[in-house]
């Protein structure tokens, strides 16, 4: 009967140390990636909100100008009603002309 024996061609300790080091670096790397991703997402989201807020300000100016136009009395501004209005017949919707 012959004893069976496992022979390693290299030392187990450096191998395990390497694995641990790789896992450690990977862990730190993952944390860095997640934190960077989170920070960028928050910043991007806030940046979108800031842009939307600027658009809302412009929309506010537009709506104010619409209200100003609706409130304008054209007669006092020197404008007169048109003497005539021209109408045309509504065109047929068919494509066969």
């Amino acid at each position: 009967m012959r004893n069976k024996r496992f022979n390693f061609s290299f030392s187990l300790l450096p191998f395990c140390s390497g694995i641990v080091a790789i896992l450690l670096v990977s862990y730190i790397g993952l944390i860095a990636v997640v934190m960077s991703y989170a920070a960028l997402t928050v910043e991007f989201s806030q940046s979108v909100r800031n842009d939307e807020s600027k658009v809302a300000t412009l929309e506010s100016e537009y709506l104010a100008s619409v209200a100003r136009t609706a409130n304008t009395n054209y007669a006092t501004a020197g404008y007169a009603k048109p003497l005539t209005k021209l109408f045309v017949r509504v065109q047929s919707a068919t494509a066969l002309r």
């Binding site: 140390s17 809302a56 506010s60 003497l83 209005k85």
Partner: protein, 579 residues
Amino acid sequence: MRAQFRSRIRLILSLIVCAAFFILLRLYFIQVVQGHEYVQKADRQFASGGNGVFDRGSIYVVRKDGALISAAALSTGFLVAINPQTLTDPEAAYAAIAVVASSTLLSHDAFLAVTTKKNQVYIEVAHRLTDEDGRALAARAISGVHVLHENWRYYPGGSLAAQSIGIVSYGSGDVLAGQTGLEAKYDGTLSRSGDLLYKNFFAELFSNVGNLLVNAKDAREGNIETTIEPEIQTRLENDLAKVNERYSSKESGGIIMDPSTGAIVALASYPFYNENDLQNVDPTLFGNPLVEHVYEFGSIMKPITMTSALDAGVITPETTYTDTGCITVDTKSICNWDSKARGVIPMQQIIVQSLNVGASWIATRLGQDTFREYFTRLFGQKTGIDLPNEGHALLGNLSKPQQVGYDTAAFGQGIAITPIQMIRALGAIANGGMMVQPHLVSAVRLDSGIVRKLDWSKKTPVFSATAARETTQMMTALVDQKLEGGKAMISTMSVAAKTGTAQLIDGHGGYFSDHFFHSFVGFFPSYNPRFIILLYTNDPQHVEYASETLDTTFLGLVHFLIDYYQIPPDRGFATTTPA
């Protein structure tokens, strides 16, 4: 061979150690060397109050060319909070904050009082700083003063469609939520869950991969697209304000709707309020009288009575009756507006001359059961409009055996209806007898990118198309022959309309003889209408009839809509007509 392998292992290990050293070095610089800068940056990203920075979907009004304009959006800026435990110089801090936030900052005494609360670490002292002011204050790096990102609800139109858009407030809880209008009705779509703005991808990967791939929120959260057209809404509000001020009315309101779809393009009730400044607003204004309140509308009910009778077949347009000017029903006297008798006249004159005796005669011809059946079908249920707190019509008189209740209901007294129910019922006449579902929101634009059109296609047949058309002819004759003495007639556009003047109840079981509710309804082009307009003004002073208060406003709106939408002529086809 073994030596070669070892050297490779050492090489790999040294590379790993170098990488680890590099990361550690980088961490040192981030946390120690540039730590202060990042702390400030993190402070600005800090979610105040622990609930995250306020976020909410937008409400859009849609211009006629399809452009979306925000009616409710988010505004961004900064808030200022203090930490009494680390605040070293309250006076200097107050002076610095007051420079950029004088309008929203606590008073000097109140500020100094909160700085003494040393058991607290976070007290907000000023809000809604602009981006520039917030960054300027943050740059001063005052100890114990934190400048944090803040979002708040902003309404670009101010008072535009305020009652329809609604408001957001804390209500009974500590979460901002829609309280009135579309903000409340579509709160589920507009509100954003309290989740952080980002996801930890790896944590989600291991714990909740399903949610990462298919997010249920994406199918719910979004922005809403209304049917309100901003220029028409502005015009309607402007006109209502003028009517209300001119006649010192208690309130005035109006709705403009597409009668074939139920899409409301404008809906307004005066007095208005500014949604961006709610501090001094009377809370009763937050409601929407157009869907919540009921009114006795008066003679604009006559077209409905007429159409019901035509549909039931108890009369035809050629039917005549003898108008005596006044009649007595159940010991109550019912008279025409001028108490004058007209003799034998056809049905059309009941609408054209607005004859109460004629409307009562029709109610009698219909019979109580049939009359109740029609009016219950028209007003017995809520319209289902997408606004909260819709009111019920008061139809109690139609459950009693006294004929006078039916006779007065025939000309719009003794029963009370919400304006939105009224325009829906009158819209059935404009829409060939089909009653549509009034609505304000046409689509939900989900955050996932999908635009979900809402289905408002449900239609309820209430009248035959023939009966609706015959009543429309009568209402068109009113505009062509009677309104403003016939001068209101538009030679190239048929317009159908009816005025209504109702006496207001005096609170003692009777009616005032000198206080009125004026209403006006009309649609055009008469036989293929694009719009139906309902206007009212409550208790106008020193004026008796709706034809005096609202006809100019109605006709102005008709001409505005014809021009704005370039609605082609439906009659006359003159190439040149006087303006």
